[in-house]
Every structure is written in structure tokens, then in C-alpha cells.
Amino acid sequence: MSGTGPILELRNVSMHFGGIRAVENVSFQVEPGEVVGIIGPNGSGKTTLINCITGFLKPTRGKVLFHGRDITGMPAHKVAQLGITRTFQIMRPYHSLPAYKNLVVPLCSPRARRTGGWRGGGRHGDRDTVALDILEELGFERDSRVPYQAAGTLPTGYLKRLELGRCLALNPEVLICDEVFSGLSASEIASLVPLIRRINEQGLTILMIEHRLRELFQVARRVVALSYGEKITEGPPEEVTAHPKVREAYLGSEEEGC
């Protein structure tokens, strides 16, 4: 699966809902091992764009390529099978299941069974142990009750990590995070940033949708900016934030982070 060229490529992707042009003619590439940020005001089409990439929506026009292979319109579970996973902006845990069992579900998928799950851990231990290992890495204290608690009773900070854990369990190549920092306190974000870095260093390509620009720029070295569904610019954080159209879109409030 190696080789040169981008790991993910969008070519003129558009997504229209009736008259609403949620995403319009967006193209960009992601190189293997990169962390790319996607920014844009509320309603600028960020979530819709990743729904198009991950197969939750079929783009009206355009192509999505993974390792040069056309995956446009492929069903969501097949896209995940290939190794592209995403978190949900509105967290989607399995409320009644204990936190660690939330990760056993992806560990049951064909991809995790083939690859052993996150870093191949599943080849050695059983699924429950692997799930607990991943959670421990994500900051769930193993000896506490937290990993065994029903997911529905966990506070937001843990749920965000659980979303990440569910993605990692699949042993993905590309991780797409939809606003994992939102709703978290500054200290919680501060503990997540090194975690994201570490995940990236393990070889994962990461796409991060964020409103918290300052924190995003600690991990992302390249940013794509959207406004009203269109890509307005792309480049290193300093350049993108200096771009007049970005300043205009954010009404000069980009430093506050909505």
C-alpha cells in the first residue's frame, strides 16, 4: 500500500442538497504522514466534506481518491475497511455498553481482525485486553472504574477520547477528526495535543477539522480553509490566517476560536 503520491486526493468535489451548495468544487491532496487542518466558519461545509470522503454521502460531483484509487460513493463501511476512519462531531458512543466494549466493536471488524487492530495488538491478546490497552493509551486510568463504566455516563472529555479510540481500534491509515477539541477545557485540549502528535508519529495521516485554531496549529503544518462550501486558500497556518478572505470569513475573530 506504500508508494509515492498522495494518500488522499479530492478532485472538484461538490455536494448539493437541493439548492444548498454545501460543498462546491473542492480539491486538495494529503500526503502520507501529514497532519492537515480544515478550517472554516460554521456551516462552511467541513462536516459535509468529510461525509463525502468517508462514504456517508455520495458527492454530487467530483472524485475522492485513496492511494490513487477511486473510492467515490463507496459505502461507508467499505471505506472504513480500506483504512479511512472518522470521529463524529456529535459524539456517537454506544451509550449502554461499557467504555471498553465500545472499542471491542471495531475490533470485531474484518479490517481489525486482519491487521490485529491498533498496531497489531490483537494478534497477541484478546479483544477486551486490546480495547483496555488502547483506552489506557488515551488516558483512561486502567485501574479505575472509568473504562468499565457505561459510555453514556462518561463526561465529554472521555467521550471525545472514546471517539478517537473507536477509530484507532480499526488500525486506520487515515484518521479524520471532526472537532475533537470543541467542548473541551483548555487543560483537556492541552493533554489531547501531544496525544494527536503521538498518533501521527506512529504513521497515521490525520485530517483535523477545528475551530480552535491556536491548538490546531500546534499539530497541523498545513491548513485548508473553506467558506460557503468553497476552498478559499490552502497552505501553512501563518499564510492561511493572514489571507484576506480567511480574515473576512472569520470577521477578524480567528484568534478567539469559536
Binding site: 456517508f56 472504513a80 456517537r92 458512543p93 455498553l97 466493536v105 471488524s109 473507536r166
Partner: protein, 339 residues
């Protein structure tokens, strides 16, 4: 509103459930007995039923009807409360299983054991494939469409005059003795109920629960939601088709009444009474419903009134169902505490 607002009921777990719901800390034989007791009571109770009822052939028959309704109800409960598919196709499962067994027995001359086994496995496949196109439907829409299946079957059989038409098939081989008849069915019921419970306790069952709670997350985890639902449909079909196939060999005939809507509707009542989501509950519900309906036979058309009252009573006063209520009483102390 309440006379004593300062008191509330406090519930305390009996000290055996530790940490995760699957990890039990067993320290003595008593605790083992405490855990396995109810299960053993259920199993031994059903195995003893034919022996106890041997002097009364009528009630012996009634007990077998309990098992038949029990199987279809467990299949309903599994789909509705574990998988999240409210299916009213119980009569369809039953009828397909019944007709398949009848065909295998009369046309190919297969003995009852083989006919029932094959009808169960093949029938469930037929049902799952035929119902699969409705899987994108949700809630009440899935319920209504699955209810159309048995209705459609009776009309097709009548109109096209296939599968014996309105007459059906007669002269189907019966069982060698009342004992094989009774124990085959009871064993099927026990294997069905505890097999499904086992399955749900495994990782495959976990995925089923996950699909019910959040299908989007399951899709994002690389698992085909349609695939999981199809498998569940097949499993539920196994129970329903087995019941139908068995019934046909018990009564040595089959007709369009095999698709009668009773077996689409009664399982709901059995599940409400017994306790949804438990799989054992619907069997207990059937254990109450079927004899009750026999006792009420003398009341003629008033029967349905009493029947409805019992059901309404359960919905109002014990909406959780007998088994859920009993489990809670069994596993927890309750006491009033001052607030």
C-alpha cells in the same frame, strides 16, 4: 402528590456483581447456586413438564403450544429488543418453516427429524432473503411491511392454487411417540433460547447491540450494518421456522392457517408480559398466555375482553414484564430510606 415525599426506595446490589457486567467474582458454591439457580429451575421445569402432565393429554398438548408460541415470541423479542427491528413477520417465519417441512416430507419422503432440520435451516434462509429488501425501513414501517408478508402468502396460495391451495397438505409423518414429540420440541426451545443468549454474550452479540444503539458508528467501524441485520434476521428465522416445521409434524397437516396472523401478534403480548430483551421472558409470557386462553375458551367472545384486560394490566402495572421485575428483586435488596 405523594403522601410521603421524604422516603424513597433504595436498591442495593447483592454483593456478587463485581465491576464489569461480565466479570463475576465467585467465591463459594452458594454463589454459584445463586447465579445458576434460576436458569436450572427454568430448564428442569420445562424438562419435567411432559412428565407432570402425562395424565392429562389435553394439557400436555397445551404445554407444547406454549413451546411453539414461546419460540416465535423469542424470535420476536430478539429482533425487536436486541436488533431493533420490530418485525411482525412471525407468522411468515412459521408458515415458511411449516410448508417447507411439509414439502420435504411429502414430496421427498424425508423423515420428520430431517424435514424439520432442513426446513429450519433452509426456511430461515428463504425468510431472510425475502425480508432483506425491507431492512432499510425503520420502526413502524418495517413492522407494517413484515406484517404484509404472511397476508400476501395466504392470498398467493389461494389465488394461484399452489402448495395445495386452500386444502394444504395432509398425511405428513408424525412422531414415533408422544415423548419424542414433546422432548424434541422442548429441546429445540431450550437450545434456541440459551443459544441466542450465548450468541448475544459473545462479540457477535456485542456488534448487534452496537447496531441498535448507533448504526452510524458501526458503519464508521468498517462493519456492514445491513450484513449484521441480515444475520440477525436469519437467526430469528431459525426459531420461527423450527416452530412451524415442528408444528406441522405434530398435527400432521399444514394449510394456509400456518400464516394466520396470531403468530405475528401474540408474540408481542407474550414479550410484554414476560419482559422484553430477556429472551427467556417471552417464554414465560407464553406460559401464561396460552393456558389462559385455553381456560377462557368457555367464555366465547368474552375471551378477548379478559385477554385484553390482562395485557392492559401488565402494560400499566408491570410494563417492564415479569422477568425483568423478578430479576431485579432477585439481584437487589430494596428498602425505604429517609431522604
Amino acid at each position: 402528590m405523594n403522601a410521603q415525599p421524604q422516603r424513597r426506595k433504595e436498591r442495593i446490589d447483592r454483593g456478587i456483581k463485581a465491576r464489569a457486567e461480565t466479570i463475576y467474582a465467585l467465591s463459594s458454591l452458594e454463589e454459584l447456586a445463586y447465579l445458576l439457580g434460576p436458569r436450572l429451575l427454568f430448564i428442569v421445569g420445562f424438562l419435567a413438564l411432559p412428565l407432570i402432565l402425562a395424565p392429562w393429554p389435553y394439557w400436555h398438548r397445551v404445554a407444547l403450544s406454549v413451546c411453539v408460541l414461546g419460540l416465535v415470541s423469542v424470535s420476536f423479542d430478539f429482533l425487536a429488543n436486541q436488533v431493533g427491528l420490530v418485525s411482525l413477520g412471525g407468522a411468515f417465519f412459521f408458515g415458511v418453516g411449516g410448508y417447507t417441512a411439509a414439502l420435504l416430507n411429502t414430496a421427498w419422503g424425508l423423515p420428520p427429524v430431517l424435514a424439520i432440520g432442513l426446513a429450519t435451516v433452509v426456511g430461515a434462509g428463504i425468510c431472510a432473503v425475502l425480508i432483506a429488501p425491507c431492512l432499510p425501513l425503520r420502526g413502524i414501517y418495517f413492522a407494517i411491511v413484515t406484517l404484509m408478508y404472511p397476508l400476501l402468502m395466504t392470498r398467493i396460495i389461494e389465488a394461484a392454487d399452489i402448495l395445495g391451495g386452500t386444502e394444504g397438505f395432509r398425511g405428513i409423518t408424525g412422531f414415533s411417540s408422544v415423548w419424542t414429540e414433546a422432548y424434541g420440541l422442548i429441546l429445540g426451545l431450550l437450545v434456541g433460547v440459551f443459544g441466542l443468549r450465548r450468541y448475544l454474550a459473545e462479540d457477535a452479540g456485542l456488534v448487534i447491540r452496537a447496531v441498535k444503539e448507533n448504526d452510524q458508528s458501526v458503519r464508521a467501524s468498517g462493519i456492514s450494518v445491513a450484513g449484521v441485520r441480515f444475520k440477525a434476521l436469519y437467526l430469528a428465522g431459525l426459531l420461527g421456522c423450527f416452530a412451524g416445521a415442528y408444528y406441522v409434524h405434530m398435527y400432521r397437516s399444514v394449510g394456509i392457517s400456518a400464516f394466520a396472523l396470531d403468530l405475528s401478534i401474540l408474540p408481542i403480548a407474550a414479550t410484554v408480559i414476560g419482559g422484553g430483551g430477556t429472551l427467556v421472558g417471552p417464554v414465560i409470557g407464553s406460559l401464561i398466555l396460552v393456558p389462559l386462553s385455553e381456560v377462557l375458551r368457555d367464555f366465547g367472545s368474552l375471551r378477548i375482553v379478559v385477554y385484553s384486560l390482562v395485557l392492559a394490566g401488565f402494560v400499566v402495572f408491570r410494563s417492564e414484564g415479569i422477568l425483568v421485575f423478578a430479576t431485579r428483586k432477585y439481584q437487589q435488596f430494596e428498602r425505604w430510606v429517609e431522604v
